[in-house]
């Protein structure tokens, strides 16, 4: 059950010839796959392509009607290997994942696939998680295309172009027997737009045909001598075939060629940003009618030498707008021109920043500098946009005023998150046993490295939490290291790379598996250990059993992470027990985001039906809170905040619990476990109380009110 449902959007996948499709870019890709007669789709969720996987999940019935097989792959490597179905059969297949991290994992299978080549169209849709909003290391997928000689599409970021790229990607793949990568940047994935749909196509050659009439071609298998022939084939056959197809079908686009003796070469994905830059500089209108020649690379690898030469010939200079580094395209263009002895000057990195996202501001500055050099008269200096205007004190002053008042606001654990108490427990253990080396993993739990917890030293990749502490394993100390791993990372590879490795190498260290029933950080998709019953997937398998299965003896399962004392004591036991060997703690509680979405409607329904419902939330008594905020430093819950102190004598704000509280109970547990303060209380609101509830309340109420009146008599006449 994913974080977002697309049940409504999915109906758009039924749109036929000539109907208008409106929606998110990533949903358009799904429709394009069906229009292209795809036979199978696989992938691994992760921003920015999570929605593609979620849409396909909700669209499974449609897929089945079309005979399309869809898998949630165990990992990106699994997804990539799935494309093997297109090696010997005319089957179109597509896979998708987050890049570059997913491509890293997939690259072994991709390299083998690319070596032997494909018969059916093989499309690898990578969500380029680069720039603002990215959660990973800043690298380029481009390098993977180059090293394995797969072709790389980078279409203009509008729905018609993206849809066309999917369709032509399959054709290009088949024409050149080469897997094709389709790169979509974060914003392109989530862009809202429209395109004119076509009918969905049921593949003529089906999976059934392949299974029933198997065929093989040893020359496609990566084993000498085949592997040596493959390399020559790539250069002599597939590469020229690809360049021919790209030219014949005009995959790259030309605008206003010949209008000037200078021009811009850009990645398709940078088109809208470039046009906006030109528009701001008065060199284009809102429709992209520009008088600056543009050569748009919807295919960024391979470059078509003839097209590059044709565009550059007769131009004094060109600007290459290539996001990310190294500047592969710019280098390639330089070498093409040098070999052809064309003297056109090539600008790129330098006028544009070498590293970092190519924001509209950065591109505008680069284009401004370029045009200044070649045709300064074309820019009206009276109407310069703010980003290239020399900064005046009046324009920058408000910004500088607020700097001190604006704090960074990184993501963090949600209200009621079951992972928070695990790290609160870690803090408490730290107080008793001192700091430990903590190896983190990929997932929401990585937020532990931020305040208020400040726990964690490294993160080496999805599922690699325990592997990344492997070296810190020596008999010279009895002190142990702690590693973290999410349930997602555990099934992705952690079971073997971490747990199996620790068992085999006789580690004496501790692993905490955060089991929240979903791959929460990627949007709450199901996995093997999910509690949910999923009609198209097998779930409810135990992580603890899997861990024992690979030979871990010391395994503890905490079924309620909010039980801070149990959490703390189990961690302490794992760190101090005399027992040697790897130790695994499985910390289970459902992701709060998903739980709330699941439970809220149910409760409302029961309440309407007149059933007895108890709503829980926490509170802080402002008059006993002394404003030291140690509760916040042990929790960091978004719902645990500060408020003005009602006591005129006190200066510091008091702690307070906001209405967003879901009553997870951590506040109370912390107050107990850390002996904080008596200010925390839990309110239970009972809807549709029973007769017995009301009876007890009446009796207690009478006595309580009587005694409270006595107190009031004492206090009478103290305040005015």
């Amino acid at each position: 059950m994913a974080e977002r449902f697309f049940t409504k959007e999915v109906q758009k996948l039924y749109l036929g010839q000539g109907q208008e499709f409106r929606g998110e870019g990533i949903l358009a890709v799904t429709k394009a796959l069906l229009q292209s007669g795809v036979s199978y789709v696989a992938g691994y969720q992760g921003a920015p392509i999570s929605h593609l996987m979620d849409v396909l999940t909700d669209a499974n019935s449609i897929l089945e009607e079309l005979g399309v097989h869809f898998e949630h792959s165990a990992s990106e490597a699994t997804a990539a290997a799935t494309l093997a179905a297109s090696v010997n059969y005319p089957l179109r297949g597509a896979i998708t994942f987050k890049s570059t991290v997913g491509t890293n994992v997939a690259s072994d299978a991709l390299a083998n696939l690319a070596s032997g080549g494909v018969m059916g169209g093989a499309l690898i849709i990578v969500g380029e998680d680069y720039g603002e909003g990215s959660s990973i290391m800043q690298e380029r997928s481009h390098a993977f295309a180059m090293k394995s000689q797969m072709w790389l599409l980078d279409p203009r970021p509008n729905l018609p172009s993206i849809v066309q790229a999917v369709e032509q990607g399959f054709a290009l793949s088949e024409a050149s027997n080469t897997p094709v990568m389709l790169e979509l940047r974060i914003r392109a994935c989530h862009v809202h737009g429209s395109f004119v749909a076509k009918d969905n196509v049921r593949p003529t050659f089906t999976l059934k045909d392949a299974i029933e009439k198997p065929s093989r071609d040893p020359s496609r298998i990566v084993l000498p001598p085949g592997s040596f022939l493959h390399e020559h084939e790539k250069i002599q056959k597939r590469w020229p075939a690809a360049q021919k197809f790209i030219q014949e079908h005009a995959l790259n686009e030309w605008f206003s060629d010949g209008a000037q003796d200078f021009g811009i070469i850009l990645q398709g994905g940078m088109y809208n940003t470039t046009i906006r830059a030109l528009e701001l500089l008065g060199l284009s209108n809102a429709f992209g009618d520009t008088n600056v020649p543009l050569y748009v690379l919807n295919v960024t690898y391979p470059l078509v030498d003839d097209e590059i030469k044709r565009f550059c010939a007769g131009k004094r200079g060109v600007l290459v707008i290539e996001e990310g580094q190294p500047d592969f395209i710019e280098q390639n263009i330089n070498s093409i021109l040098r070999k052809a002895d064309i003297q056109t000057k090539v600008h790129g990195k330098g006028m544009l920043p070498m590293a970092g996202e190519y924001t509209a501001a950065a591109v505008t500055r680069g284009v401004f500098e370029f045009v200044q050099k070649y045709a300064p008269e074309k820019i009206d200096r009276e109407k310069l946009p703010a980003v290239v205007r020399p900064a005046s004190p009046s324009s920058t002053q408000p910004a500088s005023n607020v700097v001190s008042q604006v704090h960074p606001r990184p993501p963090s654990f949600c209200t009621g998150c079951p992972e928070r108490p695990i790290f609160t427990a870690m803090k408490l253990v730290e107080r008793e046993l001192g700091p430990h080396h903590v190896a983190c993993d990929i997932g929401c739990h990585l937020f532990s490295i931020l305040p208020p917890f400040n726990i964690g030293a490294t993160t080496m990749g999805y599922g690699l939490g325990w592997a990344s502490a492997a070296a810190l394993n020596t008999k010279e100390t009895s002190k142990r290291t702690i590693s973290f791993m999410g349930d997602g990372g555990f099934w992705h590879n952690g079971l073997t790379s971490g747990v199996g490795n620790a068992v085999f190498n006789q580690s004496d260290n501790v692993l905490v598996v955060v089991d929240n029933s979903y791959t929460a950080a990627t949007g709450g998709q199901d996995i093997l250990s999910s509690e949910a019953i999923n009609p198209i997937r097998t779930t409810q398998l135990s992580i603890a059993d899997a861990v024992r299965g690979v030979g871990v003896k010391w395994v503890r399962t905490i079924t309620r992470t909010y039980d801070l004392v149990a959490m703390r004591d189990t961690l302490k036991e794992a760190l101090t027990t005399k027992e040697k060997g790897p130790k695994v703690i499985v910390a289970q509680s459902e992701c709060s985001l998903n739980k709330q979405r699941r439970v809220k409607p149910q409760l409302l329904k029961l309440q309407k039906e007149g059933k007895r419902i108890v709503r829980e939330r926490f509170g802080v008594d402002a008059d006993t809170c002394t404003g030291d905020h140690s509760c916040i430093r042990l929790s960091g819950c978004p719902s645990l905040s500060i408020a003005p102190n009602p006591d005129p004598l006190r200066k510091d704000p008091v702690a307070t619990v906001l209405e967003s509280c879901v009553g997870c109970g951590l506040c109370g547990e912390v107050a107990h476990a850390a002996r904080l303060c008596p200010s925390f209380f839990q309110t239970e609101v009972i809807s549709n109380p029973t007769e017995w509830d009301n009876f007890k309340a009446r009796i207690a109420g009478t006595v309580i009110r009587f005694l409270q009146r006595r107190t009031n008599r004492r206090l009478a006449g103290i305040t005015a």
Partner: protein, 515 residues
Amino acid sequence: MGTSATYQSIDTNAGSPSPRAITIAIVAMGGEGGGVLADWIVDLAERAGYLAQTTSVPGVAQRTGSTIYYIEIFPEASAAAARKLPVFALMPVPGELDIVLASELMEAGRAIQRGFVTSDRTTLISSTHRVYSMTEKIALGDGQVDSKQLIEAGATAARVFVHRDFERIARETRSVISAALFGALAATGALPFSRAQFEDAIRRGGVGVESSLAGFAASFDATLEPIAQQSNDTAKHSLKVGVQLQPLAARIESQFPPASHAILFAAVQKLADYQDVSYASTYLDELAVIRDVDTKNGNGAFVLLSETARYLALWMSYEDAVRVADLKTRDARFARVHHDSRAGNSELIQIKEFLHPGVEEITDILPAGIGGWMRNSGAPRKIIEKFAHKGRIVNTTSLFGFLQLYALAALRPLRRKSLRFREEHIRIKQWLAQIVEVAKQNYPLALELAECPCVVKGYGDTHIRGRKSFDTLMSTLPKLVHSSDSARILKICRDAALADDTGDKLTAALRELPA
């Protein structure tokens, strides 16, 4: 700006020969429903004959972190005339935004910082409520940033600046902040669409339509009304007391300088509430000597007296188990909790206290002799530890639970004989004596000394740590009293004591001290 309803809609042809897109950024925090607002705007525009595009950067940024939704809309007519589609940008360009909607004040500040808000064209609509950053929340004292500066920056940076507490409006209408911001946007007329068109977009959205429309309407009106004047803090310090305290009030007015009245009035009420009237009167006795030394050595502002008075009152009303039980059993508190719980008339509420009295908290309230003996000697201490090693949950709304706490609160008259009372009052006397001594030779240092009790806070371990820091600060006095900038140094040490809850920063600061 923005306070009077002089809002004008955007001229899409400002400065450029061909029409350009209207650019809108929503700066928010993940999970706040900024996406809903973006969808409303897109739907509104598309139905009103505009082409629209929205982009966002989800991912983990959605987990309560800052995030931006960006929208561009473009008149369909101009596109038809040109027989072409506009090329929309996928991200905001500094200096090129027509509308910025901020769901929270610091996020508005962030937008200004990023150059999204400019005086030549930007309509900035921001909620003035605060969602505090972690940095602000984890401070041991007061770490809040200055909202006033943020609002002033908005006023200078924007062409039109609308700032209201849209969060409150949303809450009061049982709606969401997106609806409130949408209403404000409609009221500014920054978009060329009618109120009805806005409301239809909400209806087509289909979720929580009624409450959203209510929130929309409320903030539409609030945006057009001038901002209501904030009641200022002096209300907090009212110079009125009840009949029981009239004699003390008279005494304050006759014997103490006006500069100190606000604090003294608050203090005597707190202490009489805490113990009894005579306790409040003892408090004034204690302060007489401070008043005199301030009159002699001060500059007539009586800061020393006021600050000493503040911390003496807080110290004398230290939170022991009796006080906590007393406050938790009061009807005013029951009413407050009931209100906050938003329970309906037919609903019952239960209040469950999370208490964890340690050996100290228990022996604190025992008669000094017994308390001291039990705290220190092995066997009895063991017994209490057994009893106190686990936290307990007391249901104050149940008969048994209430009686437990009420009985505890009833020990108040015996407090003067209790172990903690004796200990605290010995320490108080020492502190006051030192203030007097120091004030005679080094008035500025005395001022800092008077504020030192602020490092003692909380309960249990937190309280013990605070008391340690306080003693450490006191122990530096002999070194400091003769040095010239001793006041500054003591303040540095005091701030250091509040800079972490391990005491490391204080230790570090002390190493810097002149030997």
